[in-house]
């Protein structure tokens, strides 16, 4: 799992071990991460720094940028929440029951990973549009349009984030000791009490990991969203699209400024989730 390792005091002087390789692997990991992650991101920040902090703030608080950032982060958060819940349910069904078509269902979970996101966006837009299969029914029943509104963005973000929760929870659920549930039953607990008080707490760290991954993916998603969003400034425009718009206008500084703001918010959110996660790991097990 992708827990962010928190530095402890001991890391500076690792204890001598029968399994050497700390120096070598740490060196490799750092140079690799620098090449792939840190240097590109540093260049981004460096380009944006031409504006200075106040300049960044001005860009970030432009009404249109602010609206896009809010759309992106709020909808990503909501989509990740929904994925956390339904991903858990799907993982539960896939691990706990044997039924015809289970392996097919299991394979289908990964489709959002495999499909080019633009294809997904076009397909979603087609069925969720006012004249699409699902869209027309929803509109007839509730009067709400889905495609080409923020609701459409939400649908796309749920779609692309689904596999993360399923795939992080599934192995943990599979390894969960059946005896613990049986112990709960012999002590008089109902099935619901067993699920709520014994099984779910054991899954909390995995669900949080899946949530964080789904959230991070949703924030950065571009391809599927732009086809279904309608992309109306102030209403259904996501931050990554705004960056592209800036780039197309050769406003590199503006684009990097928005990107830097997104990066900071993302990093802080992920850091927060990781802190909760390491707390819950201590609290809920992984003993």
């Amino acid at each position: 799992m992708t827990a962010l390792a928190l530095p402890t005091r001991e890391w500076l002087r690792p204890k001598p071990s029968a399994l050497p390789g700390f120096g070598l692997t740490l060196g490799f990991a750092l140079s690799y991460l620098a090449l792939i992650v840190l240097i590109p991101l540093a260049v981004l920040v460096w380009r944006a720094s031409g504006l200075g902090l106040s300049g960044l703030w001005t860009v970030a608080t432009t009404p249109r940028v602010r609206a896009a950032l809010e759309t992106s982060f709020y909808l990503s958060f909501a989509a990740a929440l929904v994925n956390a819940f339904f991903g858990l349910v799907i993982a539960w069904i896939l691990t706990r029951y044997r039924f015809p078509g289970r392996t097919v269902l299991d394979a289908m979970v990964d489709l959002p990973f495999a499909l080019p996101t633009a294809v997904a966006g076009i397909a979603l837009a087609a069925i969720y549009a006012s004249n699409g299969w699902v869209g027309s029914i929803v509109e007839a029943v509730t009067g709400l349009k889905i495609a080409f509104t923020p609701r459409g963005i939400f649908v796309a973000l749920v779609f692309i984030g689904l596999p993360f929760v399923v795939r992080t929870v599934q192995p943990v659920l599979m390894d969960l000791d059946r005896e613990v549930e049986e112990a709960s039953a012999t002590l008089g607990a109902s099935r619901l009490q067993t699920v709520l008080r014994v099984i779910l707490p054991a899954l909390v760290p995995a669900v949080l990991t899946g949530f964080a991954l789904a959230f991070a993916r949703a924030v950065g998603e571009y391809g599927s969203v732009i086809f279904i969003a309608g992309n109306m400034p102030f209403i259904s425009e996501i931050a990554p699209l705004l960056i592209i718009v800036q780039l197309e206008e050769f406003n590199y500084t503006g684009a990097t400024a928005i990107a830097t703001v997104m990066l900071s918010i993302s990093f802080l959110s992920l850091l927060a989730i990781n802190l909760i996660q390491s707390w819950s790991r201590r609290r809920f097990g992984d003993v």
Binding site: A183, A185, T186, G188, S190, R197, F284
Partner: protein, 347 residues
């Protein structure tokens, strides 16, 4: 105190028969061991009593009440698992209190009452003051004590333990055996425990039920099963005996043309199985019914154990001699053999 009556219990797992018509009476307040090799059905029987396995056939009564159709939750059978099955995300105190806190509000004891009960149970299992720790911070022996306290907290009608010491090392095992005996004497619960270790069974239990291939071979006190095994299987399984294929003719027992001794009355002539324990073979100065060559000598605290070959084709047998008796490896020694545990060969 509640006795358990098991009648005609059968259990099939996907076509294979795990329990094949078990009849067993567990007396109120007794400590009974279910002993058998792996695959004998002992754990399945224990789980059936707890309600964790639905039966294919048969009934189970708890003290006169038919419990066959009762759900696990309603049987009030305390169960202790081999690998503890503690809730890792709860403290020790929360683990022990769990069975009380899941009760419906009307039946749930008051908070301070629960806390007091947890303290009492921690004292009973000799782990006072560890209530705030998590299971991950405890040793295996401590975890199993907590698991027992958790099972006792709900005041179960019967206590069922599935290889409770199976995952622990030898010394802890020994301590916990004595400790479980004490707890049983103090609380008086009808207790059934599963083990594959015959030493553990005879040391701990009031009575031992020996299972083999889904059937009960014998039920009796440790003395009964050790001294009067009901059949060849029991004789071979308890008492660390060496099995020799022998023939009985005219009241004498022979193995591989070696005369071993007199056969007990009532054994028909023909092929038979003889089970020899260390106590059945005495090394004597002279005379003896037969002789053998000492192939190995091992030392224990109070005696010496000899591995003796009667002939090249027979399996080695073991004898115990006192420390002052001088024996060298390779020496031929005179033996008297008591051929008590002799069963006609089954075909």
């Amino acid at each position: 105190m509640t006795g358990i009556a098991v009648r005609g219990v059968a259990k099939d797992f996907a076509g294979t028969r795990a329990l094949d018509g078990i009849d067993l009476d567990i007396r109120p307040g007794e400590l009974l061991a279910l002993l058998g090799p792996s695959g004998s059905g002992k754990t399945t029987l224990l789980r059936s009593i707890a309600g964790l396995e639905p039966l294919t056939a048969g009934t189970i009564h708890f003290g006169g009440e038919d419990a066959t159709g009762l759900r696990v939750q309603d049987r009030k059978a305390g169960f202790v698992f081999q690998h503890y099955a503690l809730f890792r995300h709860m403290t020790v105190a929360e683990n022990i209190a769990y069975g009380l806190t899941v009760r419906p509000r009307a039946e749930r004891p008051a908070r301070h009452e629960i806390l007091r009960r947890v303290e009492d149970l921690l004292d009973l299992v000799q782990l006072p003051g560890i209530g705030k720790r998590f299971p991950g911070q405890l040793s295996g022996g401590q975890r199993q004590r907590v698991a027992l306290a958790r099972a006792l907290a709900v005041e179960p009608r019967v206590l069922l333990l599935d290889e409770p010491f199976g995952a622990l090392d030898a010394q802890v095992r020994k301590d916990l055996r004595r400790w479980l005996r004490d707890i049983h004497q103090r609380t008086g619960h009808t207790t059934v425990f599963v083990t594959h270790d015959q030493e553990e069974a005879v040391e701990l239990a009031d009575r031992v039920a020996i299972l083999n291939r889904g059937r009960v071979e014998q039920v009796g006190s440790p003395d009964e099963v050790l001294d009067h095994p009901a059949n060849a299987f029991v004789a071979g399984f308890v008492g660390q005996a060496v099995r020799l294929d022998v023939t009985v003719a005219e009241g004498r027992v022979r193995a591989d043309a070696i005369e071993l001794g007199a056969a007990p009355a009532g054994i028909p002539d023909g092929a038979a199985s003889l089970f020899l324990r260390t106590g059945d073979i005495a090394v004597v100065r002279s005379g003896g019914t037969t002789s053998g060559v000492v192939t190995a000598i091992t030392r224990s605290a109070a005696s010496r154990r000899l591995e003796i070959r009667l002939s090249d084709d027979l399996p080695a047998v073991e004898a115990e001699v006192s420390l002052d008796q001088q024996v060298a490896r390779g020496e031929r020694v005179a033996l008297t053999i008591r051929a008590d545990r002799l069963f006609p060969a089954t075909r």
